[in-house]
Symmetry: D2
Subunit: 289 residues, 4 copies
């Protein structure tokens, strides 16, 4: 990544039906306004005849103003029937982390945040338990506890949604949050909720994947980061990885080995999302690494 001030960076993410002239049209409109393309990655999927592009550009020497550039991009987008997002580097995303009892992913994300690996704000940690409260305190991040008694789960979820709204949340990270989210929640944050599942999906969908991996006698265990959808563990996969295991590994060992995997896989997915590197189409992702 080039040494451009974050505040001078902008990212354009585009997807549309594939046709001639797309790359040229976008390059032209940016160049014509004095934006300098720093990095451009593009993909055409022949099986669905769809086009995807990520363009990162420097707007320090824009010859017009942002409004004019935005209108010009909107015009090109309309002409070609593009879906697009335009994101400015000076707008840090706001990521809220949800956690239940296992806190390894939470602590890992907070450490990365502190080390400057994640370019986002973390305005809140949300949990259905109190276990993570002291960790939140240590990292000076507001902690919100929502007890999930059967009789008021629905009410609590609405309060959670309200909080997310108030915090102007851009991204929800489910860092081993063990509650199923209602559709209303998921629909409100489409392609903006990242979950970590502790198996190599689609193997071991659902609960207790390490136990089931142990039962099946697999020789590798995995972890999968994906966008949450209303169908559990079926959302678009962002990243996966595996680690070797053997007959010597009991369930405890799988859990321990898996922790290291979950942390790394979730962190990669979160970084890519924050960096505007992911486009979703159908139930899949294009990740411009």
């Amino acid at each position: 990544m080039p040494s451009v001030a974050a505040s001078d960076l902008a990212t354009l993410l585009v997807s549309c039906s594939d046709r001639r002239g797309l790359v040229a049209a976008l390059a032209q409109v940016l160049f014509g306004h004095g934006a300098n393309i720093i990095d451009s990655d593009q993909h055409s999927d022949p099986s669905v005849k769809h086009f995807f592009q990520r363009i990162r550009f420097d707007i320090a020497e824009l010859m017009t103003d942002r409004g004019t550039l935005e209108r010009a991009i909107a015009e090109v987008a309309e002409r070609f029937g593009m879906r697009y997002r335009l994101l400015y580097g000076h707008q840090k995303k706001r990521a809220v982390i949800f956690v239940s009892r296992y806190d390894h992913c939470l602590v890992d994300l907070l450490l990365r945040h502190r080390a400057g690996e994640l370019g986002c704000d973390i305005p809140a940690i949300v949990s259905n338990h109190r276990d993570a409260e002291s960790t939140a305190l240590q990292f000076s991040i507001p902690f919100y506890h929502f007890a999930m008694d059967a009789n008021r789960a629905e009410e609590q979820q609405e309060r959670q949604l309200k909080l997310l709204g108030e915090l102007k949340t851009d991204l929800v990270i489910l860092a081993r949050y063990m509650r199923v989210l209602p559709s209303s929640f998921i629909d409100g944050y489409k392609e903006r909720i990242i979950n970590i599942h502790h198996s190599f999906l689609p193997a071991f969908v659902g609960q207790k994947p390490y136990h089931r991996a142990y039962e099946r006698g697999v020789k590798l265990i995995g972890a999968t980061a994906h966008y949450a959808t209303s169908e559990l563990d079926e959302g678009p996969i962002i990243e996966q990885d595996v680690v070797r295991c053997s007959h010597r590994d009991q369930i405890d060992d799988l859990v321990r080995k898996g922790r290291d995997l979950e942390k790394v896989v979730l962190a990669r997915a979160v970084r890519w999302h924050l960096d505007d590197r992911i486009l979703v189409y159908g139930n899949k992702t294009v990740v411009f690494e």
Copy 2:
């Protein structure tokens, strides 16, 4: 592995309920007859309280004869309720390779065999197609074609079984053999049929796993070598591995990347089996690598 002549090597594979004194009893009986333990690996599974051991020993300076040693081992085995197998290094196993149309695993195994990687004889290649005939000829291995018309599949399978018997087959390798084997076949070669499945089981059980991996948008594809059982793709897993893929990979790319995986994973499983490194229990394997 030590520099002992293959003909002086013997391997004892043992499994039984875990209890005191097992290791000592086996070490003692071997030592007492002048056998020298070269390599010993052992595993106790606390969840099922089961014991597994593989002992490789040198019988060059046996103080008694093999028969006496065998009777002594049988006696210990009976005392402790052990299941065991005793295998001599001078007895090369006889492996028959089954293949359909895709021949990459077949060719890979034949090349490894020629390079001395696999210490076995290959008395036959069996196929339901004629595609591999010229390859068999090149490697000077007898080729048997069994056409599988719907109306005589059963008869052909019986002829196959008869052939395997005549060839004194120790191991059947399903190197991308695309026919389901009947139970009679599988029962006759329990824990002696190795299949390669082109997915990371239990993900994508069944047909066309690469197509389904593509549909699901996974970020890794896998291959699994397992012992065949009467439940398709459900047998004890011997070895698995994965390779990274991305949105750029079309199905053809997955197939190509997968070929390299399948070859390596199948070859490892076959080597371990031929080397008497695998013990099956329940639906799992202990692999003494």
Copy 3:
């Protein structure tokens, strides 16, 4: 990769000092002539302020002719001080494979070639030994033997160079060729000779890397594919990979495990080169995977 006929595909590889307007200028010139960009990948290296791009485009509906397009590209290139290569899909590259005694990489490449994985012609196999002659025969590829007696090595190398010229060789693959090539040879095929070294360079430069890996007690062994330069094992690295080993692995085991690595690593590098995915700068490569 999209379903465009190979004969309609062209690839433009560009590198130059980084400056504004590069992406737009190239997109514009292609679009203006009716070429349709199918795939474009680009990289700016901030540390050396250098720009790299690979554009693959469809010329089926070119509004002008190739000559006109070529002149237009040349003009843009001159304006921006670009080094570039323009390659047409209908021109299959011609790759000559050099081998000594170990033939696993050779056989692997020939199998991949036969399976359609490598889009090239292989007009010759060259060796300083006769061992590979029968393999060449099997695959119906002309075999050239150049005995390398001390007193006529130089003369033989000149004859090799002459042969490469006559065969219109685009790429030389050193598939475990154990002779050092003279500078004259290397200079004539700059960035067109790919060598496989059986270690994770820069560890174990030079001879007998497996022996030295064994001595050092490493826990992973590696293989490296690189462009050959006049400094042995110091050329630009194209691809590397590793495999796990342990105290149980003797040198023979490392050699065996390494064979599988060498094959895969060399094949990847060759594929990328044939697919015009590699740009060299300084002593490094940009690989547009």
Copy 4:
């Protein structure tokens, strides 16, 4: 690992010249005293004709006392010329962590310790800087700062040694400690100092390995955990791993990716050491995983 109380576990690590009867002799002496072998792993290195064994056994139902068992083992050891260590599960090892400015390995080890992954006590964190003091406080571990001005480095190192002695230190972990230790220090803790080096040794011995990896244009970066010896970065390797990188990775990216590697590789090495799984011979390790 079986469900035996830690206090009932003992581990015997043995190495000696290979000869007949070693396995039987050890099994016999343990069995004869009522110790139950739970796990036994053994290795014979044919190239140096050396024998290695790790036996983990349960002493809950010892028929004699520990002293008697110890004398019996000592006797066998003398008879066969064995070097051995006998370790009891109830004796938690005491590990002191040294750190300089980069604290990711330190924090990672402390989190693992808190999660129960490392069965040791951590009586102190030692540093030549004050950066890690607040982390030490957070985890309630005594922090010792030794300023390393050129004129009193020697004196400070002596004070460090004295402290280690007072703390009855079993293991020193150099978690990115950037000072070279004097021979006196290293000799006092032979095979008991674990260092993490941020490269795939023997590539990039010495300083700034990520910078040099970047310069060389490698496609994988690595990390190596090894026992410290008086020759820098030349000690016996315990564990190594790598992660893929590309032309897109600047030095900052390599440093970031490397952090994740360093943590995992160091943690594995420390776990194995604490678990008495490592035997050193020559300049290599046998790791009974």
